[in-house]
């Protein structure tokens, strides 16, 4: 971005596209809050417990993937200053995603293979449509920077993850993967939790944090590039190590690279916040810092696990997965939601009124103290839940789940309040009137006369 160049939302798609994914993500987050007191105690047991598997996929697909898909449909055109390749296909991906999720989660819980297969297939369709739309948009972009590369590389990671997931879902029925099941499971998890989510979040954070703290020029670009290479290189090396069953040293090297990338990302965030022009407290900052800390802690635990040569059944892997999912992804989602979603609602609801009448500031669109309380509870719940697996203490898991649920409740109340500000526009977001074709000689049916 050249000096002085702001970023415009002129290329952003209609808000109904990101909004429907966001609504789904928030509904699923509500389900996570309700289920957490019952699901977190399962951390103390086997990770192959079907209920735990369903809970993990509710988090990965229902919350993290839904929010990421919606957010990137909105952000990619803005970041790249290129219109989305197809909003219609984007909408189609939502319906495939929604129906797929509705089949997969109950299928996982009840071990109904037909439901799992149907759900997984529809989810693969949804992700492929998403990859097609975002990939085409990326290909059309004229200016590529470090943020665009993060998005592109993350997209490749997602493609690998869904392909591995499809194979695993298919194998649940007839076991055709045989001895490759665990290596492929490792690859699937690594694709999604190392090659997709953290890379995408890092790229998005570089742009958003810089934008909202007025510190865009303070970004350490060489460090951002180095972080991208380390995170992605490490993730792909680890995937190759799983699939090829290489020497454990290779896995350790890969884990070290991932950890180094995460540390660089966390350092970059701290640097951006230190360089911010406005020194005041903003509630997204503690969320973002906890997210970066969660990602770093997950990566360091990964290194420890690889160095110690722990078996796949070790409780440590539960902590690594949960730190990445809850600690990094869901914490970052909450923090950025307070900034981005609130700003978008403000832009549509209050920008036309600004100057003519008093309009609220972003912080006035939600309960600030509740947001801080939510952050405290969520962080405390994360810390408690990490102790559940190593201690094998289900009662502690129940308490941790309740604290996490309380934190999420604070967040979701604020989500409702923010949405309330935009309620008058919600009908507009979801109303799709037949679109007239504007063009020389176009007829009612769009046929050129």
């Amino acid at each position: 971005m050249r000096p002085g160049g702001g970023i415009s939302s002129a290329h952003a798609p209609d808000l109904d596209l990101p909004a429907r994914f966001m609504v789904l993500g928030m509904v699923d987050l509500l389900a996570v809050a309700v289920l957490a007191p019952f699901a977190v105690p399962l951390f103390a047991g086997s990770f192959s417990d079907l209920r735990l598997l369903a809970f993990v996929h509710l988090n990965t697909l229902g919350v993290v993937a839904a929010v990421i898909l919606g957010a990137t449909y909105q952000l990619v055109p803005v970041v790249l200053q290129t219109p989305l390749a197809s909003v219609r296909v984007g909408r189609l991906s939502f319906w495939a995603f929604l129906v797929g999720l509705s089949f997969l989660l109950p299928g996982l819980l009840t071990l109904r293979h037909w439901a799992m297969g149907t759900g997984a297939t529809l989810l693969v369709v949804a992700f492929l449509l998403y990859i097609g739309v975002v990939g085409t948009t990326l290909r059309r972009a004229q200016r590529w920077d470090v943020v665009a590369w993060h998005l592109a590389v993350a997209l490749v990671g997602l493609a690998g993850g869904i392909f591995a997931g499809l194979l695993l879902a298919g194998s649940k029925g007839n076991g055709f993967l045989g001895a490759m099941t665990y290596p492929l499971l490792g690859a699937h998890v690594t694709f999604l939790l190392a090659a997709w989510v953290p890379v995408l979040l890092a790229g998005v954070a570089y742009r958003l944090v810089g934008m909202f703290t007025l510190a865009e020029d303070a970004l350490w670009r060489p460090a951002a590039w180095a972080g991208l290479v380390l995170m992605t290189g490490g993730a792909w090396l680890l995937i190759a190590a799983f699939l090829l069953r290489t020497d454990p040293v290779v896995r350790l090297v890969a884990a070290l690279a991932i950890a180094a990338g995460q540390i660089l990302f966390a350092a970059q965030l701290v640097h951006l916040y230190r360089a911010r022009r406005r020194r005041g407290f903003d509630v997204h900052i503690p969320f973002a810092l906890v997210a970066a800390g969660g990602g770093t802690a997950a990566a360091l635990l990964l290194v420890a696990g690889m160095a110690l040569g722990l078996r796949p059944s070790s409780a440590l892997w539960v902590a690594v997965v949960w730190l990445t999912l809850g600690g990094l992804a869901e914490t970052a989602i909450q923090g950025f939601f307070y900034k981005i979603a609130t700003f978008l609602v403000w832009l549509h609801r209050y920008a036309p009124l600004a100057g003519r009448q008093r309009v609220p500031r972003l912080e006035e669109m939600y309960y600030r103290r509740l947001a801080v309380a939510g952050w405290l509870l969520w962080t405390a719940g994360l810390a408690l839940s990490l102790a559940v697996a190593p201690l094998g203490n289900a009662a502690l898991g129940r308490i941790a789940g309740m604290v996490l649920a309380a934190g999420l409740a604070c967040f979701l109340i604020n989500v409702g309040r923010i949405a309330g500000h935009g309620l008058s526009n919600v009908t507009v977001w979801f109303r799709r009137t037949p679109t007239p074709r504007v063009g020389s000689g176009a007829t009612e049916d769009g046929v050129v006369s």
């Binding site: 415009s8 002129a10 200053q81 219109p83 909202f212 600004a354 007239p436 074709r437 020389s440």
Partner: protein, 282 residues
């Protein structure tokens, strides 16, 4: 109560003027050509109809201007003879390719086709692209029709254009920016209107200055629009900012304010906004 005779509609009238005098003609326009269905949308009607003359609307709809003028006048009870010339459109497509086509670097590209098919207004995206074009460079627009009204708007900002049609709903238009305000057009048909005078950056008398450098979004927008609201008509507002306020520009355009931006270096931008007389009524 006496009834006054309706005034005949001319090709040079803005569509907004037609609709404001004869509101029932919105339906008539849509009946005449489905292209004009966008006018049923109040927002589109407010934005688009102010920019387009009847002759230009005819060109957009693929009609002869005389045909549209005749039909509109017929709808208000005035018969225009067939042979009466109703005005000419600014046919901008040229057989002679200007020298800058193919040689001027393309700074930005806007594909407005998907936006139009989805019923979205591409004007903001086009103007945002135009702002990114450096002197001596150009930007490319893909459109489903020849955007005749846009030629005037961008012509006033110093752009000349070259259009070519690749298919029934596939137009490629190149806008070249030579660095000045008004430029000589590539063809006589594409002459831009006389340019509005540039804003006077040096005038100290009427300028109110505010600094929004330390404010985070959306507070700069609030502060600027509040300052503009308090400003008398004809006054100017100088804003010190850290970046181009991209979300503000469409608001300023919609409210009818004139504005220019200059970049003084990394993290230093100045925006000069003039509150035109008509702006405060919007």
């Amino acid at each position: 109560m006496s009834e006054t005779a309706p005034e005949p509609i001319l090709a040079s009238w803005k569509v907004s003027e037609v609709i404001s005098r004869y509101p029932h003609l919105v339906d008539e326009l849509v009946k005449l050509n489905p292209t004009f269905r966008l006018l049923r949308n109040p927002v589109m009607r407010r934005v688009q109809s102010r920019l387009v003359t009847v002759a230009q609307a005819a060109a957009i709809g693929g009609m002869e201007p005389a045909e549209l003028v005749r039909a509109l006048n017929h709808a208000i009870g005035i018969e225009v003879p067939e042979e009466q010339p109703a005005g000419q459109t600014d046919a901008a497509t040229t057989e002679d390719v200007p020298p800058w086509v193919g040689s001027a670097p393309i700074d930005a590209e806007v594909d407005a086709r998907p936006m139009q098919r989805e019923g979205r207004e591409p004007f903001s995206a086009i103007m945002a692209a135009a702002r990114r074009v450096a002197p001596g460079h150009a930007f490319r627009l893909w459109n489903t029709f020849e955007p005749v009204p846009l030629y005037d708007v961008l012509g006033q900002r110093g752009f000349v254009h070259y259009a070519r049609q690749h298919g029934p709903e596939d137009w490629e238009i190149l806008f070249f920016y030579a660095g000045g305000r008004a430029r000589e057009a590539t063809t006589p048909a594409a002459q831009p209107r006389p340019a509005a005078p540039a804003l006077d950056w040096e005038s100290p008398s009427a300028t109110v200055t505010i600094d929004v450098s330390d404010l985070v979004p959306p507070e700069p927008m609030i502060r600027i629009l509040e300052a503009l609201e308090a400003l008398p008509a004809g006054g100017t507002l100088l804003v010190h900012h850290v970046r181009r306020p991209m979300h503000l520009y469409p608001r300023l355009d919609a409210l009818g304010y004139r504005h220019e931006t200059r970049e003084l270096g990394p993290g230093r931008v100045e925006v000069l906004i003039e509150k035109t007389t008509g702006a405060e009524e919007r």
